[in-house]
C-alpha cells in the first residue's frame, strides 16, 4: 500500500476552533493547511494540491458553500466537507448537491471517523463470491466508497487475478462450487503473503471462525442484524435525547432543553 500523504485544508473564522482541529488532524498523519477566511483558502488552493477541504459555513467574507464551489472549480477532484454549527436540512441538501459531505460541529465524532477512514492512496480490492447478485451489490457499495474492485465468481478466477495484479484486500465467500473460501484464502496468501483477507459467510460457526483467524484473516457473517440494531439504537438515542432535554427543563433550564430537543429533531 502506498503511504501517500493527504493535504487537508481547514477553513474556519474561529481561530481557537481552527487551531484545535488542525492539531488533531496533524496527529492523524495528514498535511494540514489552515485559512481563516474564504479568500485565503482559495489562495492556498491555487498554490497547493489540496485533496480534502473542510470548510465552515458561516464566515465573514463568503459562505462555506461558495468557498466549496470555487474550490471545486480550481481542483475538480477535491473532496469537500462542510462543517457547521448551525446546520439545517436545507443546508445539508445544498451541500450534498455540490457533492460535498456535511457534518455538524455538535457531532465531531462522525467527522473524525470520516477522516480516519479516508483512503490513503490506491487500494486494489478483490471480491470473490459465486452469487453474481450479491457480488454486484457488494461491488457497488465498494465503488460508492471510492474504490474500483476486481470481481471473481470462483476460486480459480480469484487466483488468476491475484497472479497478474497486486491485490491489497480480498473479500472471499466461504461456500463456492470449485473450492472453499478458506482454501482460496490459503492459496492467495501463498501468492502474496501481504494480502489482507476477509472471509464472508452466511453459514458461519465457531470452528470456521477459529480456522479463519488461524489464517490471520478476518471473519464476518452475511446475515448480521445490522438493520435491526440500527433501528433499536436510533430509538434509544432519540429517547435518551428527549429525557436529557426533560432533565434540563425540570432543572429550570428551558432554553437548553429546547436546544437539545430541537437539535435532535433537526438531525433526524
Amino acid at each position: 500500500m502506498k503511504a501517500k500523504k493527504i493535504n487537508i485544508l481547514l477553513v474556519d473564522d474561529n481561530e481557537k476552533f481552527l487551531k484545535s482541529v488542525a492539531e488533531r488532524t496533524r496527529l492523524k498523519g495528514f498535511n494540514v493547511f489552515t485559512a481563516t477566511n474564504g479568500q485565503q483558502a482559495l489562495e492556498i488552493a491555487q498554490k497547493q494540491h489540496i485533496h480534502v477541504a473542510v470548510v465552515d459555513q458561516r464566515m465573514p467574507d463568503m459562505e462555506g458553500l461558495v468557498v466549496i464551489t470555487k474550490l471545486k472549480e480550481l481542483i475538480p477532484d477535491v473532496k469537500t466537507i462542510l462543517l457547521t454549527g448551525h446546520g439545517d436540512e436545507k443546508l445539508k441538501e445544498a451541500s450534498e448537491a455540490l457533492n460535498s459531505t456535511y457534518f455538524d460541529k455538535q457531532d465531531m465524532g462522525r467527522f473524525w471517523a470520516f477522516l480516519s477512514n479516508l483512503p490513503l492512496g490506491n487500494i486494489n480490492i478483490l471480491l470473490v463470491d459465486d452469487n453474481p447478485k450479491f457480488l454486484n451489490t457488494l461491488a457497488e457499495r465498494i465503488r460508492l466508497k471510492g474504490y474500483e474492485p476486481f470481481t471473481a465468481l470462483n476460486g480459480h478466477e480469484a487466483i488468476e487475478i491475484t497472479k497478474t495484479t497486486k491485490i491489497h484486500l480480498a473479500v472471499v465467500d466461504q461456500r463456492m462450487p470449485d473450492m472453499d473460501g478458506l482454501v482460496v484464502i490459503t492459496k492467495l496468501k501463498e501468492i502474496d503473503a501481504d494480502i489482507k483477507t476477509l472471509l464472508l459467510t452466511g453459514h458461519g460457526d465457531e470452528k470456521l471462525k477459529e480456522a479463519t483467524e488461524a489464517l490471520s484473516s478476518s471473519y464476518f457473517e452475511k446475515e448480521d442484524m445490522g438493520k435491526f440494531w440500527r433501528f433499536v439504537r436510533k430509538v434509544l438515542q432519540s429517547l435518551e435525547t428527549s429525557m436529557a432535554a426533560a432533565g434540563m427543563a425540570t432543572g429550570g433550564d428551558l432554553e437548553d432543553a429546547v436546544d437539545i430537543e430541537s437539535h435532535h429533531v433537526k438531525k433526524k
Binding site: 474561529n14 429525557m243 426533560a246 432533565g247 429546547v258 437539545i260
Partner: protein
C-alpha cells in the same frame, strides 16, 4: 403566529391543570359512589394516578419544575394515600427522571463528574439521615411531616418565584477548596461559538448547604433539583447549563441513598409507584415535544401558584384546621 401558537398551548395547559386538580376529587366522588354500591376495582386508583402523573409530567417539563417537587405535595394533598407511601414513590419518581436524563447529559459533557462527586458524597449521606429522620417523625405523628412539608413547599414556591439564575456567573478567583478538589471545567457554547471555562468559589459554604439540601431531599422525597441548582449556580458560580445537568446527575446518587431507606421500610408500593413513574416519564416525553414548539411563560407561574396552594393545604392538613378541605 408563534404568539397564537403559544397562547393556544397555554390554554391547553391551563385546561390540563384544571383537570389535574379536579382529577382526584372527581375520582374521590366516584369512589364514594362506588363504595356506596360496594363495587370497587383494584385498578381504579392506579389508573387515576397514571393519568394524573401523565399530566403532571407535561406540566413539570413546561414549567421547569422537578417532577418530585410537584408529585409529593399534590398527590399527598389530593389523593387518599399515606404520606410515607407518597414520599417513597416521590423519591422513585425523581430518581427515574434523573437516571433517564443522566446518560444524555454526561454524553453531552454538560454534567460534570468532578463537581458532582464531592457534593454527592455529602448530600447522599445527609439524605439517608433525612429519610430516617422523616420516617421517625412520621411514626411519632404524620402531622409533623405534613406541617414541615407544607412549610418547605411554600418555601420552594417562593424560591422558584424569586430566584433568578445566572447563565454565566463571574468567578474572579477560585477558592482553595475548589482548587484542591479540581472543581473547574469547560463546555462548548454553540450560541456564542466559544468554549466557556468555569471555576467555583465559596465552595466550603456551598458544601455545607448541601447538608441541608440532602436532609430535605431525604425527609420529604422531593428530589432536590430545586435546591441544587441555586446553590451550584448562585453560590458556587457554576454556569446554569452545567449546574442543571450536574444537579440532575447528582439526584441519581442522592435519591438512591434515601430511596433504600424507604424501600427497606416497605414504603414503596408498586401499585402506586409503577403508574406514577410510567405516567411521569411519558408526560415528560410529551412535555419536551410541546416545549420544542411553544413555551408559554404563564405555565410556570400557574404551577408555582398550585405549589403554593398545595403547601398551604399540607400545613392545613397537618395542623387539622380544615380551612382548605
Amino acid at each position: 403566529m408563534v404568539n397564537i401558537r403559544a397562547r393556544s398551548v397555554g390554554w391547553l395547559i391551563g385546561s390540563l391543570m384544571v383537570f389535574v386538580l379536579s382529577c382526584p376529587s372527581l375520582a374521590f366522588a366516584a369512589e364514594q359512589a362506588t363504595v356506596a354500591t360496594a363495587v370497587k376495582t383494584w385498578w381504579f386508583w392506579p389508573v387515576i394516578l397514571f393519568v394524573f402523573c401523565l399530566v403532571l409530567g407535561i406540566l413539570a417539563v413546561m414549567a421547569g419544575v422537578g417532577g418530585g417537587v410537584l408529585y409529593v405535595p399534590l398527590v399527598s394533598g389530593f389523593f387518599p394515600l399515606h404520606i410515607d407511601f407518597v414520599r417513597g414513590v416521590g423519591l422513585m419518581v425523581a430518581l427515574a427522571g434523573a437516571l433517564a436524563a443522566g446518560p444524555g447529559l454526561l454524553r453531552r459533557n454538560l454534567a460534570n463528574l468532578r463537581l458532582a462527586l464531592p457534593v454527592a458524597l455529602i448530600a447522599s449521606t445527609c439524605s439517608i439521615v433525612g429519610a430516617m429522620l422523616g420516617l421517625y417523625l412520621s411514626s411519632l405523628n404524620p402531622d409533623i411531616i405534613q406541617i414541615c412539608l407544607g412549610v418547605t413547599i411554600v418555601g420552594i414556591a417562593i424560591l422558584l418565584l424569586v430566584s433568578k439564575n445566572t447563565e454565566k456567573p463571574v468567578v474572579n478567583k477560585q477558592d482553595a477548596i475548589g482548587l484542591a478538589l479540581g472543581l473547574r471545567g469547560a463546555y462548548w457554547d454553540d450560541g456564542a461559538r466559544e468554549s466557556v471555562e468555569w471555576k467555583t468559589h465559596r465552595t466550603l459554604l456551598s458544601l455545607c448547604m448541601f447538608i441541608l439540601v440532602g436532609l430535605l431531599a431525604g425527609m420529604f422525597g422531593l428530589g432536590a433539583g430545586w435546591a441544587n441548582v441555586p446553590v451550584l449556580n448562585l453560590l458556587m458560580g457554576v454556569p446554569l447549563k452545567v449546574s442543571v445537568a450536574t444537579s440532575k446527575f447528582l439526584l441519581s446518587i442522592t435519591d438512591t441513598s434515601a430511596a433504600w431507606i424507604y424501600m427497606n421500610r416497605g414504603c414503596v408500593i408498586p401499585l402506586i409507584g409503577v403508574p406514577s413513574i410510567v405516567g411521569l416519564m411519558l408526560g415528560s416525553l410529551i412535555g419536551v415535544k410541546i416545549l420544542a414548539v411553544a413555551k408559554p411563560k404563564m405555565i410556570r407561574y400557574m404551577v408555582i401558584a398550585v405549589l403554593f396552594f398545595a403547601g398551604l393545604k399540607a400545613m392545613d392538613k397537618g395542623l387539622g384546621l380544615g380551612i382548605l378541605e
